[in-house]
Symmetry: C2
Subunit: 320 residues, 2 copies
DNA sequence: TTCCTTACTGCACGTTTGTGCAAATAGCTT
DNA sequence: AAGCTATTTGCACAAACGTGCAGTAAGGAA
């Protein structure tokens, strides 16, 4: 029976983590084999029954973190990685740690806004389960583009978030950018769209990466058929350095007069800043410019990034 | 340098618990040996840098817990132990789990009231370290008796609490019971005593066991030279079933008219009930009667006890 | 400098833990 | 009941881990 399985996992977890017994001893008490106990414990970790937290007492923690914390006023988690790892490995490690960091922040009745992109995709693959009630995962911005509807890619991300937290998933079935601002206006009056916008307005957590215009490894937005050449030229002319959820900004955080934003489906920066917890995940030193702009715009309350980027971010501001 | 040691421990902990690397891999990244990493991780756990939490989603948890929760309105943690273990082993396991359960509740600026006794002694030996600021550990009741000052015994407990949480320790250098109520009145007007009483009045957490009159394994209070035969007779005549911090109560939780309480140095039940978190630790089925009285008196907000006792507590009330 | 004390490191060994695989069991369908 | 599929279990082996011990480095006193 599934009932006893769950409660066995609980007992095993208590004995293992709280009483420091060996799996062997636990197996004897539960009258089962040691390997079953090993699996019970795995599933206990997997389902979020056991939560490992690292509370970095930041008065003594690495000064990198407190430096960033002070400069930008965000709660920062630096992920230690060797500088020699390649982008993909780094992303994987950052994503894994981001997923575990996000876990404790998610709670029942949360409305979780989720963007899409390579970073979020990686994060979504490492989420640890956690039981919550009446939570909702809502897509922050449309994912359709000129070639595909982009739906499957973004919806995979959303689905993983939803199933990790037992939350209802609300997709946003619109393109990333409209061709005409007037179409957006029209759509924004549709009740089906308003339902999503209403959820977004009530978000308690938002999770996103950043796009950076000059990334070596350009974000999907800049390379994936979402924008045509004219759009890209206009972005350059407007001094855009990056985006969050397909809404663009300049290095100083400003975004006034960037016309492309009028056709974008992501939440305005003003709206985003209303959200209580705004978690930004960044991996890869090439995103520095975008990240700097996003921080200047005050888009994040929590920042999770790799050590190399953290270093560059500090020196970036240091001699700027 | 101690600096790099601490931050290595942090990095190692992040890599081990958040990125799922093996100690071997971490050792290579930190350019040290695997055994050093093992030790770094031990110290990270030891110092509370890593915190393992088990969040029992009680809608599906063992019904024992929710039954007690509903009957007595306390937050309960049942410690799984085989019924066949002896008292000492059970106490040890309960104490270990109690210590880990208490950890997350202790915070900076806390004033922690601590009683003494076999249970608290065991708990104090298993506390996990946690860095806090400006916390104070204050002794709940005097420990002197007719034969000894009881100071070393109780003060060991206090000292362990203090050093685990980096808290200042405030002992209460009075006997457990005065011979004359008038002496107590006099002492209670002394400024040195008032300083302690003032701290007690501002406690945010209180931690105590229960004494049970008919325990097979009688509490120190009933056997240790604290009370003479006349006192014990009077307790029996008053229908006393147990005590918390040397303040007695009856099975229904009442304590009016128990004259011995006028000579006791522990906090009155009324005062104790003012404390936000009141954590009661109980091990051993023979304490059921005392525990039942303590719960009836509403002395605890949190209860940590072994499974066998939990079962007896439920059936006790079931056919009562 | 030399000697002493203390704390840390890596090795080697025994213990503990994860996991592929085959057997067993449970759940369903016909 | 039989037959099928999907899980779950225990075994056995390899991988990962903890710890006593001896060697080494880092301070401190004479």
């Amino acid at each position: 029976m599934a009932r006893s399985r769950h409660s066995d996992a609980l007992r095993a977890a208590q004995m293992y983590y709280l009483q420091d017994l060996t799996m062997d001893a636990i197996a004897r008490e539960l009258r089962t084999s040691r390997s079953t106990v090993s699996r019970l414990l795995s599933s206990a970790r997997e389902t979020g029954l056991v939560q490992v937290q690292i509370r970095s007492p930041f008065e003594t923690g690495p000064e990198l973190e407190s430096q960033i914390r002070n400069q930008y006023g965000v709660d920062v988690h630096v992920v230690p990685v060797l500088d020699t790892l390649n982008e993909a490995e780094t992303l994987d490690r950052v994503a894994m740690q981001a997923a575990r960091t996000i876990g404790p922040l998610v709670d029942s009745n949360a409305i979780i806004g989720v963007a899409w992109g390579a970073t979020l995709s990686a994060v979504s693959r490492h989420l640890t389960r956690k039981v919550t009630h009446d939570s909702i995962v809502v897509q922050l911005n449309g994912a359709g583009n000129m070639q595909t509807t982009g739906i499957t890619y973004a919806s995979d991300i959303m689905r993983r978030f939803g199933s990790a937290y037992g939350a209802r998933v609300e997709q946003f079935p619109v393109p990333a950018f409209f061709d005409h601002a007037s179409t957006k206006t029209a759509m924004w009056n549709e009740r089906s769209v308003q339902r999503i916008l209403d959820l977004q307005a009530r978000m308690s957590i938002a999770i996103f990466g950043v796009g950076s215009v000059d990334s070596d490894y350009p974000s999907h937005v800049y390379a994936g058929g979402y924008l045509d050449e004219m759009d890209l030229n206009k972005l350059a002319a407007d001094d855009v350095v990056g985006d969050v959820a397909t809404v663009f900004f300049r290095s100083d955080g400003s975004s006034d007069g960037i016309t492309l934003n009028e056709r974008s489906t992501g939440p305005s920066h003003e709206q985003l800043r209303q959200v209580r917890r705004r978690i930004c995940v960044v991996s890869g030193a090439s995103k520095i410019n975008g990240l700097q702009g996003a921080l200047a715009a005050g888009l994040a309350t929590d920042l999770i990034l790799d050590e190399a980027s953290a270093r560059r971010l500090v020196s970036f501001n240091g001699h700027a």
